[in-house]
Every structure is written in C-alpha cells, then in structure tokens.
Symmetry: C2
Subunit: 283 residues, 2 copies
Amino acid sequence: MSTAVETISEQRCFDGVQGFYRHASAAVGGPMRFGVFVPEQAKRAPCPALYYLAGLECNEQTFAMKAGAQRAAAQLGLVLVTCDTSPRAARYPGDDASWDFGQSASFYVDATQEPWRQAYRMETYVTRELPDVVEASFPVVPDARGIFGHSMGGHGALTLALRNPDRYRSVSAFAPIVAPSQVPWGRKAFAGYLGPDESAWAAHDACALVRSTPLPIPLLIDQGTADKFLDVQLKPELFEAACAAAGQKLQLRRHAGYDHSYYFIASLIDEHIAHHARALSGS
Amino acid sequence: MSTAVETISEQRCFDGVQGFYRHASAAVGGPMRFGVFVPEQAKRAPCPALYYLAGLECNEQTFAMKAGAQRAAAQLGLVLVTCDTSPRAARYPGDDASWDFGQSASFYVDATQEPWRQAYRMETYVTRELPDVVEASFPVVPDARGIFGHSMGGHGALTLALRNPDRYRSVSAFAPIVAPSQVPWGRKAFAGYLGPDESAWAAHDACALVRSTPLPIPLLIDQGTADKFLDVQLKPELFEAACAAAGQKLQLRRHAGYDHSYYFIASLIDEHIAHHARALSGS
C-alpha cells in the first residue's frame, strides 16, 4: 500500500476486506476519507473497481454499512470504492447551515465560485485523484472502472460518466437527480458552486449532457414510485425523454412502493452489481 | 393490525415491508419500539417468525439496517422481528453512565433488584409480550418461533431458549456472551439486575443452563477469531465444553479474521436464516 494512504480500519467481510482509509488530497487541499472493499479473489488477480457516490447527508461509510453490496461484489469479483460526499477539513461560512448545500452536499462538481472553488473540487477528486490513489494502492485493474450512486450521487455518477466517457465502462444509478438545473436541490447547489449564470449549468446536468454527448454504453436506473422526492427533485421522466431524443440506451425501472432509503438500494443492489460486472469483467 | 400497535414507518424492502412500530408494554410499564420485516409471501399464508436480539448500544433498527437479513428472509419466507435492547421510557440514576449497563444493556433478564425490577423485565417482554403482540398484528404462524442474536443478544437468544424450551424451535447466535457469570460484562450486569448473590446467576448463564437442561434442537454459533472481545468477554470454548458435557448438539464455527461488527454478521447471515428456515418451515 502506498505510504500516502493511512488505514483507519480494515474488517473482514464476505471473505474479503472492507477497509476505510485517509489520504491527503491535492484536489481538495486536505485530508479525505474513502472506503474500499476488496474481494478475496483479488488475492489471485486484480479486480475491476466500481465507484459509488452517496447522497446528501451520507459519507464514505453509509453504502458500505447499509447496502449489502459486498456479498455480490465478492461473488463477482469487484472492488467497491466509496468516497465522502464533500470535503471535510475546509470549512466556509454557512457550509453546515442546510443539509442540501455545503458539507455532505458537494454535488460532485468542481466549484467555480468563491469560496467553494478552493476545496470543493469533487469532480477532479472522484474522476482523477481517487482512482490514481486506489489503482496505486489496491489490487484493481486500471482503466476498468464503473460508477454508480444514489440521489445526489446518482447525479454524480451520470454526469461524471457523461463528462468523462473515457474513464468509465459502466454506469448506473438509484433514484438519481437527473435535471439539477430544473429542480430545487440542483438549482441551489449550482447557483452556489457554479454561480448565477445558468449557461454554465448545462455542462453538469445529465439531461443536457446526454442530449449533446450520449454514451455508447447502456445506462441502468432504478427508481421507487413511493420516493418522496420523485416529483419535485428527481423527475426521471426528463432523463427518459432526453435519452430517447439522443439515442442513449437507458433501462429505467420504476419499482412500485419503494422509497428513497437504503432499504430500496439494498433490494436492488445485486442487479446493479451484476450490471457492472457484465461490463467490467464479462461475468 | 391491532389498534395497540402504532406504526412509526413502513418501507418496501425485497418485495416485502420493513416496518417499525411502537406499543405500550405492560411488561416494562412503558412504550417500546420494535421492527418487523414481513416478506411478500406472507400475503398468501402466515410465515414463521424469527426474533433477533441485538447487542450493547444497539436498538431495534440496527439489525434491520446493517445485517442484510431481509434478502434471505424474503427468499425463505420468514418474518424477522427486532426489539430494543432495554426499556427507554423508565430512567434510573446512572442508567446511562456506562455503555454496558442500563440503557441499551438490559441483558434480556427480568431484573430482581431495585430500581431495575420495575421496568427491566426484558425476558417477559421478549418471550411473552412481544410474541403476543406480533402474533396478533402480523401474518405470522403462532408457535413457530426462532430466536437469534449478537453478543449480549446472543446471550439473550441462548438463555431465553434454554429457559423457555417450549417457545422456540430454532436458536443461533453471533459472537454470544455464553458465560456471563464468569466475564466482566456479565458480572457487572448480573450484579446490578440480579443482585450480589451469585447463586441466582446460574439460571441466566448459558453455560450453566445447558448443563442442567440441554435442548433437543441443534444450536448454531458463529464466532470471529479477530473479535476483540473474544478472550475476555465471549469465551466460546466454555460453552463448547458445557455442550459436550451435557450432550447438547452445537455447531460452533470459528471464522478466521472476522471481528465483532455487523460486517461479520452480514457475512454469515444467510446461513443463519437458512438454519432457522429449516427448523421453522422445513425449507
């Protein structure tokens, strides 16, 4: 392991290891924590890495503790990587005043506005620095990356894949924000991180991105119909229409009665892991 | 549903429902919360109920959120019931002074000492009142109960089954306290709840109980070898010897490298669910 990565904890899990680590991030200018699940079969040969981006109020531990993803990842031979939802060391006035902006609410963009642009550089962190760290320190296949996420992290997965098509071979999302420019969560975040000029927002909006630069790979999205954020914040029908117009392959599945919680994610996680394993390792 | 049971939340999970509820407990003299996972197949016919007892510092939500048990329970048709780890409304001096006594640390006994005896009547609660409530309000087969638990809750599962052999058809435990009379956690709790006369403790000590009244059913225990509580608090070898002396069938499995956490439980949960399903429904 690289000396730049400090081990916080490592716990045996499904014959593999669920670890949490800390490193000094150049991208955000301070320490960042992340989690890695390494399946047992990585002892024999490096495995593809699947990156998960969490939603508002979560951190690098949430998915590892609640989604039950390690079982299928162990079976199919995927490394799971989780990161935090914002920088933590850099603090700015008002960054903890609300749950949907600032701390735990980076929206995975590189902010362009002061003061956020100093540390809130999460796109660079997630797409460049973290893979570099993971690929240097863990038994993963370089350039065999998948990405997925939930809610704000679903927005992150879709937009980072659409903006960095060379970086990811597979993409999926649970209950993602797909049209941040058009919904309250996204408009608040983008105004703060990207500024009031809405013309700069389209480059970070999945609906706008897919219309201009669709991906050659199929996207998988699961959405619960009892999700309390469905009608105001999520609006998957907007992405469905954008993908149809752009010729983007999309499997959007609506699940009756499911809400926005990790009980929903856990119920569908095996199918997402399988989706990524097919693309990343042909299993 | 009985009008005495108030719904806190119900969330769709693996095609079933993970709910949390509140009711007025006569046993503990105040409100108690509990969780129930009802698999979809209970819509067609009642299912057996498997009761889980959590460890120190946990509550009725911990297992539901972290163990990933609903997946196998949905497949095999078991209702999962979780309860809290102590009364919450009744408060006594010093009941939150330590993490291993008082709040969240009932040890699932009916206390005999003041002031605890007024509300800390968790054996009666778990073995009588909660099953009555569950069997009156949810689609469960009466008298087809299994019980399992973790750490303090593993002690609870073993001792409540040994003390109430007519109530449970299947028993298992993760990293249980098996000899509370001989280890610091148990001695502190028993001295407080049962008093200084150690002769009263044997009736709540799994090692002592199994020597006098073994069960006709096989017990399953999983224990991690990297569990930091193994040598001082858990000592499964004492229970192994007691079972051997008493002719109690026991499958005690030691798992290299696993610790005391829910990552350990999640890694083995499918096998525990299967153990109970075999006994409760022959599946």
